[in-house]
């Protein structure tokens, strides 16, 4: 649907009830995290995804630096031995789950939700690639800088990234009539 004034495409919104949204959001969030922690999900989805992220990150880095080595979920420097491990939590999955829970809880058409999830996943993972790369080189350069960026800068940026995506997605939802 195209808005007459802005030309943006929006999705028709369902009637919004804050309490219902909050409960749904909390319920879905718990369910998703609980599922993620189960062995089948870990084995079937999380671990492969983590490995994919690590390999993709290593490939991206090796495209510019032959010193970068990827071994399993680890990216390290063959010359210095410094490495970073892409583990659960490092793969951006938790941030995606939070965003997904919010989008699924919010009253919106399913197609709109699906598009939002895809866009959110892309945004989170792209920023996660940048995070991994910056942390790899910051770690080789300075442990202090690595720790500061790791603990503060990139968590804030990831949160901001998810929040921006969330808000932009909400903005595409047409008010309910």
């Amino acid at each position: 649907m195209r808005e007459p004034s802005t030309g943006r495409t929006t999705a028709p919104a369902q009637p919004f009830r804050a309490g219902r949204f909050a409960l749904a959001f909390a319920g879905i969030l718990v369910a998703l995290f609980a599922a993620e922690l189960t062995r089948p999900i870990q084995h079937a989805l999380v671990a492969p995804w983590t490995d994919l992220v690590a390999r993709a990150s290593a490939a991206m880095l090796r495209a510019f630096d032959r010193d970068v080595v990827a071994s399993d979920a680890t990216i390290f420097s063959a010359s210095t031995g410094f490495g970073i491990t892409i583990r659960a939590g490092c793969n951006g999955v938790e941030a995606m789950l939070v965003l997904a829970a919010a989008m699924l809880a919010y009253p919106a058409p399913w197609r709109h939700r699906l598009l939002g999830l895809l866009a959110g996943t892309a945004a989170v993972q792209l920023l996660n690639f940048a995070r991994i790369a910056s942390l790899f080189y910051l770690g080789r350069w300075s442990a202090t800088a690595f720790e500061w960026a790791h603990l503060y800068v990139w968590q804030a940026l990831i949160m901001l990234d998810v929040l921006v995506v969330w808000l932009l997605w909400l903005g595409t939802i047409r008010p309910a009539r």
Binding site: F16, A18, F25, V69, S71, F76, V98, P175
Partner: protein, 770 residues
């Protein structure tokens, strides 16, 4: 006897002879009721003339010794009975009358006495042919045929007496020696060539009496068919057969001299009267009533033809063919020589009635004579073609030249070729040369090049002489050949050495490698005369080539014993293989491949463990070597998954097979870059102290990019923990110095905060939109 038969008998003549100087034999046919004697040429087999008019009736004929004069008897009364003489061409010379005798039958010429004998009723008359006068007379009853036998020792003359039925023998003094009874009415007679037998045709007895001139007795009487009425008899020049003309049967029969067996019986004309034979063996039979002459060619398939008509009723008992020149020799060939020609030929069929005394060969303007073939005619000009002919000569004269002539070009041997040079090839030499200055007068037909013991013909330069031994120097010569023969060899060429394939290399030694064998050998003692360009070593089914005496043959199956041979190659070809090396078994003792982490290639090699100790073939099976694998993700990656350290080059997985049980194998691994400082060689597997697979550090020396360690079969590092000749290993340099930091995207507090922010944002936006 019938009237006609009697008339023929009266007309029969005895021996008549003819001769033709300078030509072939002539046959003189007398003719009753004719006025001339007909002359037939034996070569032309045709009538060539006749005499002038010599009276109304002739009978006997005689020819003098050289055939130049012929005598003919006239038995009629007009002119009176007498003897005519004329030349071989028929030119009448004169006449001798024998009056008062009324008839003359047979004549004979005695060359030694120069007398003509004439048979007349009542007397045998002797005539001097030079003065044409009667010089003697011998009483006789009815002499008919006279034969002169110069070879006889018991008598000079024989005449048949038709009244007394005897043959009377007369000596050289013209006195009667004896009388030999024969058949009734003896008529024609003939001597064999040796003069030992006299054949008498008994007209009324139908038989032939054979008289031995040595004993003057009849030794055999041959009966003829009834009513044969033989009129004449003759013996062939070779003395093999005798023939009789049968006037009553109109046939001629022939019999062998040896057995008197019949060899011929052919029909002739009507009333054959007399028979004679020429030097070629042809029989001539005058046919009285046909006035023709039948010519018979005896043999297995006798042939006849007729010549005529002749003048008068043909008669001719006895010898009426004169001597003549021989026929030309036949089969003449000429072989060239140095300014000469060698002429070969065959004797003619006819000697003309007289023995051939010589042959004369004529080539161009040069002649030479000899008694027989061949004749060498000298004085010829080399290179000038001449025609060669041959003539035969007897006492009468010389034959016509042989035809066709044989062409020949006298020549001598060609000179030696010049400018001989040779170029060596593979077992051969190519010989070049210039033609000789002289071909000897005959075109050169071929050249022969000789190098060492080998020769080869050719029609020009160059000639390739093959079959030469490689490495053996030779010089070459060339000789030219023309129709005369082969000339002298040229001056030898410079020495050349033919080349060939090299000999076999020696001292072949093979050392097994990993899937290859290194072959060393000694160059062959003989390079074939051409530098060796390469060697080819063959081990099993694989070969490799190279220019040096060290060649590595690759792609061999590990564990399969092979022997190696080497062959040398030069510009000519490849020589024989060497003796095989000792058997060796390639083993995979080294492997190079990319490490799993993408840093490049690493090489692992082993020493020790025994000759057969080698890496198992590459693969992911239990008894296969996977070589460089990642820590996880490979079928042979450790089952533990994660490792306590990081492996910058991944892991090395291998299985050694064929090692001596309990032996120690030394490993050396060269990685693509320096191993991080502080790294140890980590292994995953069982240890004697802890059989369950686990990560542990294998004692190793790490320096730069090289890691070296040893593993004893069944000891630490061998995952199967058994001294069974199989070593199973899995490990790699791992980083104790590696810093691994987890980089979680959001910690739990951040996640909680994010969830709150999203919830808050959603509620605010929802209420706003509501």
């Amino acid at each position: 006897m019938s009237g006609a038969r009697r008339a023929r008998a009266l007309a029969a003549a005895c021996a008549l002879s003819a001769a033709a100087a300078g030509a072939s034999q002539h046959v003189y046919i007398a003719g009753i009721a004719g006025t001339a004697v007909t002359i037939i040429d034996t070569s032309a087999q045709a009538i060539v003339g006749q005499t002038g008019s010599i009276g109304f009736a002739q009978s006997g004929i005689a020819v003098n010794g050289d055939g130049s004069k012929v005598f003919a008897a006239n038995f009629g009364t007009f002119p009176p009975a007498g003897v005519w003489d004329f030349t071989s061409s028929g030119l009448v010379g004169g006449f001798v009358s024998v009056a008062p005798q009324a008839q003359v039958f047979g004549l004979a010429f005695d060359t030694a006495a120069n007398r003509v004998y004439a048979a007349t009723p009542g007397a045998l008359v002797s005539i001097d042919p030079t003065t044409r006068t009667i010089v003697g007379s011998l009483l006789a009853t009815v002499p008919f045929c006279i034969i002169v036998n110069p070879a006889s020792t018991t008598g000079r003359l024989y005449y048949s007496d038709q009244a007394d039925n005897v043959v009377v023998v007369v000596d050289s003094s013209f006195a009667v020696v004896t009388s030999i009874p024969v058949g009734a009415k003896p008529q024609g007679m003939a001597l064999d060539p040796s003069g030992t037998r006299l054949y008498v045709a008994n007209f009324n007895s139908d038989s032939v009496s054979i008289i031995s001139t040595a004993t003057n007795t009849v030794i055999q009487t041959v009966s003829l068919p009834p009513s044969s009425a033989p009129t004449g008899v003759v013996v062939d020049p070779a003395g093999n057969d005798w023939y009789v003309a049968e006037g009553g049967r109109n046939h001629v029969e022939g019999f062998s001299v040896a057995a008197n067996a019949q060899v011929l019986d052919v029909a002739v004309g009507s009333a054959p009267f007399g028979i004679d034979v020429d030097a070629a063996g042809r029989l001539y039979v005058p046919n009285q009533l046909d006035a023709t002459v039948t010519v018979i060619q005896p043999g297995a398939t006798p042939s006849t033809h007729t010549i005529g008509p002749v003048a008068g009723l043909a008669v001719g008992i006895g010898r009426f063919i004169g001597p003549g020149t021989p026929d030309p020799p036949t089969g003449v060939t000429a072989t060239p020589g140095d300014t000469q020609a060698t002429v070969s030929f065959s004797a003619p069929a006819s000697d003309g009635g007289r023995p051939i005394t010589s042959y004369t060969a004529t080539c161009g303007t040069q002649t030479a004579s000899a008694a027989s073939s061949p004749i060498v005619v000298a004085g010829l000009v080399n290179g000038t073609a001449v025609d060669c002919t041959v003539t035969a000569t007897n006492s009468i004269g010389t034959s016509d030249p042989s035809s066709p002539p044989a062409s020949v070009t006298p020549a001598t041997l060609p000179a030696a070729p010049t400018g001989v040079s040779a170029v060596a090839g593979a077992g051969q030499a190519t010989v070049s040369f210039a033609p000789p200055a002289s071909d000897g007068g005959s075109a050169i037909t071929s050249y022969t090049a000789t190098c060492g013991t080998q020769s080869a013909p050719g029609t020009g330069s160059p000639i390739v002489v093959t079959g030469l031994a490689a490495g053996t120097p030779v010089t070459c010569t060339v000789s030219a050949t023309n129709a005369v023969g082969t000339g002298p060899p040229s001056a030898p060429s410079a020495s050349v050495t033919p080349v060939g394939v090299p000999g076999a290399p020696g001292a072949v030694s093979a050392v097994a490698g990993s899937g290859d064998v290194s072959v060393t050998f000694a160059a062959p003692a003989f390079d074939g005369g051409s530098p060796i360009t390469s060697y080819t070593a063959t081990c099993g089914s694989q070969s490799a080539s190279g220019p040096s005496t060290y060649i590595t043959v690759e792609s061999l199956a590990n564990g399969v014993a092979v022997t190696c041979t080497v062959r040398a190659t030069n510009a000519v070809g490849t020589g024989p293989p060497s003796a095989p090396s000792a058997s060796v078994t390639p083993a995979l003792k080294s492997y190079t491949g990319p490490v799993a982490t993408g840093l490049g290639n690493a090489t692992v090699s082993i020493t020790g463990g025994g000759a057969g100790c080698s890496f198992a073939p590459q693969g992911t099976g239990a008894l296969q070597s996977a070589f460089f694998i990642p820590v996880v993700g490979s079928p042979k990656s450790p089952s533990a998954g994660t490792a306590p350290v990081q492996f910058p080059f991944g892991l090395l997985d291998f299985v050694l097979l064929g090692c001596d049980p309990g032996s120690t194998v030394a490993f050396s691994i060269a990685y693509p870059r320096a191993i991080p400082s502080g790294d140890a060689y980590w292994k995953y597997g069982a240890t004697p102290a802890q059989p369950a697979p686990h990560w542990y550090v294998l004692p190793a020396t790490i320096s730069g990019n090289i890691a070296t360690f040893t593993i004893t079969d069944g000891g630490l590092g061998d995952d199967d923990l058994a001294a069974n000749g199989v070593v199973v290993d899995q490990g790699g340099p791992g980083g104790g110095a590696v810093t691994l930091d987890p980089v979680p995207a959001l910690d739990r507090w951040a996640l909680a905060a994010l969830a709150c922010l999203l919830a808050l944002g959603g509620m605010m936006y929802g209420r706003k939109m509501r």
